[in-house]
């Protein structure tokens, strides 16, 4: 190995690092470390000026390793690595020292200690950098066909976009029919079009596209393989189908939450229904003209929300009532998130009732009315039609009891009027959220993708990678990722198609270099690695372990457990890690 010549670049990150850590001191310290002929500070190493400065320094000083002491490799390592490449270095000859998240941010009140720690972190990075070796990223072929899981509007739209771009798409739907939950809706907000006007053309476009193969009543059995080379198996009827696909679009949708029996008398009194039931009653003409319909928002959503009120601000009777309710409250069942679409849905159904029977009263009990964007117009329209909106407090939920003449009595504390009001109604409609399906857990396991704390599939980054999964080659569309309305679902579906198409159009893909390397001289073929590997990346062939590079995620489980120390992780060799540990101990 040639003599290491390491350049160290310490970032101020404006005041993020520079406001706490004494950056010039760290730079001077770095210069004293062995094999460091060059060190400098940058205001922002990630800015164009900072990057040019790295490239210049590599050329001028004949550097063959680069250490950047700045922020997290999660966001910035790719950038610095490609800068190294531009400077003619293999990108694995780069090492990052995190002195922001792991130093200046957590020690913002201890500048001296933070500076000492930054030096320690830089010393460790330099120690490791000495042992870095160039690595290759082998290319794999990408199969240019996709599987779409779910035949609701999101899955159909994603399939249509990919098929139109020329890719073969296999769409797998577990139900006998396409169209998903949208099909169960009567009308769509805010245009009040029939759902069939939306769904039917989308289904037609998908079914008539020769690039799309549709499998309904199909149950997914197994997904193996990796980005570009997935192997999927499912059962359609009695027939077993096996396919090779390059990418997967996950559009498995969401369920409508069913409240537990007894919640707001649901399941006890038959005049208490969910919005989806009301939707079906209206579509099938099963609702007789009501005198009054009352809707309750946020049933089974936004649970666990505790709003502490300034009790001193309240009238005594109100405060006492609130207290007794809070103390007597049972734990609410349901989901903590806001389901986003229920306010518009309730307004839509209220408008429909008003259009059918102008004399009917419709009251909507809400805690925050979330008619975002131009849906505000929709809210105004309902108010103009004399739909009444009454703000209740979540700690004092409405109480529902049976009343004479097959009516329901609803008692609610109206915050604006400051009094308890009673209504006699013919129907109580509960606005329940979209929620994840129990089957998502199995699906997540099969695809090796995580679910978020809300139970929905989790995106790779909630801001900048909203349709990518953490597993490469798998993309999420529609309500599988959380509550969304139709245009939002379609947008996410098209976005997922855009991301999948990039992989498939490029036909080849560079894979991770950070993989397990088996020394076959040491390997005794015991098979422990094959058993332990969570990604199925090890196979025993001819009495020796073999790594399938594209499957290996470099987690290191095999390397840590190999009884013969026959497995080394590329880019994380024992030598590199030990050098780092030794540097930490050697103050």
């Amino acid at each position: 190995m040639e003599e290491p010549r390491i350049g160290v670049f310490v970032c101020h990150c404006g005041i993020n690092i520079g406001g706490v850590v004494n950056v010039p001191e760290v730079v001077e310290y770095a210069k004293t470390l062995p094999n460091v002929p060059w060190a400098e500070g940058n205001l922002y190493t990630c800015s164009e000026a900072g990057l040019s400065s790295i490239k210049d320094a590599v050329k001028k000083n004949g550097l063959n390793r680069v250490v950047v002491a700045s922020c997290t490799p999660r966001t910035h390592e790719p950038l610095f690595r490609s800068t190294c490449e531009e400077a003619g270095l293999n990108k694995y000859l780069f090492e990052m020292a995190n002195i922001r998240e792991q130093c200046s941010w957590v020690h913002s009140h201890e500048p001296e200690e933070a500076t000492t720690k930054a030096k320690d972190i830089v010393r460790m990075a330099v120690a490791r950098a000495r042992w870095l070796e160039p690595q290759d990223e082998p290319e794999v072929d990408v199969t240019d066909s996709a599987m779409v899981i779910g035949g609701g509007i999101s899955g159909l739209m994603a399939a249509a976009s990919l098929a139109t771009q020329g890719f073969k798409v296999h769409l797998v739907e577990k139900e006998p029919q396409l169209g998903g939950i949208t099909r169960r809706l009567g009308k769509i907000y805010p245009t009040l079009q029939d759902s069939s006007e939306i769904v039917d053309p989308i289904i037609k476009a998908a079914t008539s596209n020769e690039n799309i193969q549709i499998y309904t009543s199909a149950t997914l059995k197994d997904v193996s393989g990796y980005v570009g080379n997935f192997k999927v198996a499912f059962k359609k009827g009695t027939e077993d189908v096996k396919l090779d696909v390059g990418t997967i679009v996950l559009a498995s949708g969401a369920l409508n939450y069913e409240p537990p029996k007894g919640s707001f008398q649901y399941g006890v009194l038959d005049k208490v229904v969910t919005q989806l039931h009301l939707e079906e009653m209206l579509a099938q003409g099963k609702l007789a003209e009501p005198e009054r319909v009352l809707m309750i928002q946020c049933v089974g959503s936004r649970t666990g929300e505790v709003w502490t009120y300034e009790l001193s601000d309240m009238t005594q009777s109100f405060a006492a009532r609130l207290l007794s309710k809070i103390l007597g409250a049972k734990k609410e069942e349901g989901w903590p998130y806001c389901s986003k679409i229920c306010c518009m849905n309730a307004i839509k159904n209220a408008i429909r009732i008003k259009e059918l029977w102008p004399k009917a009263h419709v009251d909507i009990l809400f805690s925050d009315l979330r008619t975002y964007k131009e849906y505000e117009d929709f809210y105004r329209k309902a108010r103009a039609m004399e739909v009444k909106f009454i703000r209740y407090i979540r700690e004092i939920p409405p109480e529902i009891t049976e009343a004479p003449d097959k009516k329901l009595k609803v008692a609610v504390y109206d915050t604006l009027a400051g009094v308890e009001t009673e209504f006699l109604c013919d129907l109580v409609v509960l606005s329940t959220p979209l929620c994840p399906s129990k089957e998502d857990v199995m699906l997540a396991r099969m695809l090796k993708v995580p679910l978020g704390p809300d139970g929905f599939f989790m995106e790779a980054h909630p801001k900048l990678r909203p349709v990518d999964c953490q597993s490469d080659g798998i993309f999420i569309a529609g309500t599988a990722c959380g509550p969304r309305d139709i245009p939002e679902s379609i947008i996410s579906a098209k976005a997922a198609a855009a991301r999948a198409s990039i992989l498939m159009a490029n036909k080849k893909l560079k894979t991770e270099a950070l993989t397990a390397d088996v020394n076959t001289d040491l390997c005794i073929g015991c098979g422990l690695c094959e058993e332990l590997c969570p990604y199925g990346a090890h196979k025993i062939e001819g009495g020796k372990s073999k790594t399938i590079a594209a499957l290996c995620r470099g987690c290191g489980v095999c390397g840590a457990d190999c009884p013969r120390h026959a497995i080394t992780m590329r880019h994380y060799s024992d030598r590199q890690i030990l050098a780092q540990v030794e540097a930490m101990m050697a103050k």
Binding site: G19, Y44, E48, T164, I198, K373, E488, A498
Partner: protein
């Protein structure tokens, strides 16, 4: 069929659309009228609900655009004419003179150090200052200085101190003709300046600021280096009140829609203020707290429980200023307890309506597409084809489409959808 595209506007939506197109193999021209790409997201301090540093997650994407072999950046440029149809558009773009030669400027900043003219910096929403020769923000891409000729004294100091000999005060506009198959409009939003809402005193009371101004005060690279100082005396405010729906959801001021993101960023900013100074009191005055979307309700619950942010359901009627101390008193009715109250605070932050860019209607005219009564783009079919305009081959993404849900992930998804739609046209001729 030209396998190329034009993207107008280089905020997060335009950047993502360009990257998705370029990675798909489409030659992409990214036109931005201001000196740097980055847009609104570059101005933000942190992003909700993950509290990622905004510029830190955006900067790698900006640089990716800059380096991408399929992307040609045309900053400080404007689209003047568009002719043709899907698959075959001819676009006239004017590169405005920067008076600095991009290929020579090294971005060292010596010129700005010497420039004698000081002006309010637009990037800091007027809270900070810049020179007449300037870089809008430290992470600007490209890192090329620009002369603001409207305010330049023509003293020539910048030219004389520039070692790279990059300053060229005689530079002329350059007209380019591009041939593209499709167009993405991603021009973003402006923030309403609530001068007409006289009862809140914005513009008269120094300590009444907009949320965008607060973002710049919170930002580490902002004019105060991340310290929240109130404009009247530089004191760190102990009590801060956020007023929601300023201009929006309000027919009197012309923005009856909900801007969709203000409740969420107000909660985030309130938490940031609490993080900066845990003993401060932060109030959010709201009509409906609209924290919908993934993780936001949970985040608002934390703001309340863990950070002690106070939420008041009220739309304050009036703000009065103490002429001596410049402290502010809010008069409001708490609609929960139905009592009229007053609250003395050090700083008021207005969550003002978001509206289309002032030139959105003019751009729509050039493109031959429709806008709504506010100036947002109209989708050809708002339910089924939410990113398509009425002109085939022209699509939109980001806030120029209207408040939609309006936040960063939505803009990123719309960008992907726009790229997919153009790929369908450019790769398969499916108009």
């Amino acid at each position: 069929m030209e396998k190329s595209a034009l993207v107008i506007g280089a905020g997060i939506a335009g950047i993502q659309a360009s990257l998705d197109l370029a990675n798909r193999g489409v030659k992409t021209y990214l036109v931005e009228k201001s000196p740097s790409i980055g847009g609104r997201m570059a101005q933000l301090d942190k992003t909700f609900p993950t509290m990622d540093c905004s510029i830190c997650i955006l900067a790698p994407k900006m640089i990716e655009c800059f380096r991408h072999p399929n992307i040609e950046l045309l900053t400080y440029s404007e689209v003047k004419e568009v002719h043709g149809s899907a698959g075959d558009f001819t676009v006239k773009v004017v590169k405005k003179p920067r008076y600095v030669q991009a290929d020579k400027c090294v971005g060292c900043g010596t010129c700005a150090d010497h420039c004698p003219v000081e002006l309010p910096n637009e990037f800091d929403s007027g809270m900070g200052i810049r020179k007449a020769i300037y870089l809008p923000f430290p992470q600007a891409v490209p890192r090329v200085y620009t002369v603001d000729k409207d305010h330049c004294l023509d003293c020539g100091l910048c030219k004389s101190v520039c070692n790279a000999q990059a300053v060229d005060l005689e530079q002329q506009p350059v007209e380019l003709e591009l041939h593209v198959g499709g167009i993405v409009v991603a021009t973003g939003f402006d923030v309403y300046e609530p001068l007409r809402i006289t009862s809140y005193g914005y513009g008269r009371y120094k300590n009444v600021i907009t949320a965008m101004q607060l973002e710049r005060l919170l930002s580490a690279s902002g004019p105060t280096g991340g310290r929240i100082m109130r404009p009247s005396d530089g004191r760190i405010p102990r009590t801060v009140a956020f007023l929601q729906c300023v201009g929006s959801r309000d027919q009197r001021f012309g923005y009856p829609y909900c801007s969709s993101i203000c409740c969420k960023y107000a909660v985030k900013d309130a938490v940031l203020i609490k993080e900066h100074r845990p003993d401060s009191e932060v109030y959010i005055f709201y009509i409906d707290l609209r924290v919908f979307g993934k993780g936001f309700q949970e985040f608002a619950n934390r703001a309340k429980k863990e950070f002690g942010v106070k939420f008041v359901r009220s739309s304050p009627g009036e703000i009065r200023e103490d002429t001596e101390t410049k402290d502010l008193t809010l008069w409001y009715e708490d609609t929960l307890t139905r009592t009229v109250k007053s609250l003395k605070v050090d700083l008021v932050v207005l969550s003002a309506a978001l509206m289309p860019r002032s030139d959105s209607v003019e751009l729509a005219r050039i493109l031959g597409i429709d806008t709504d009564r506010f100036g947002f783009l109209v989708a050809s079919d708002s339910l089924r084809h939410p990113v398509d305009t009425q002109v085939p081959g022209i699509v939109g993404c980001g806030y120029c489409l209207g408040p939609r849900t309006g936040d960063i992930p939505d803009s990123v998804m719309q960008a992907g959808a726009a790229a997919a739609r153009l790929s369908e046209i450019l790769m398969a001729g499916s108009v």
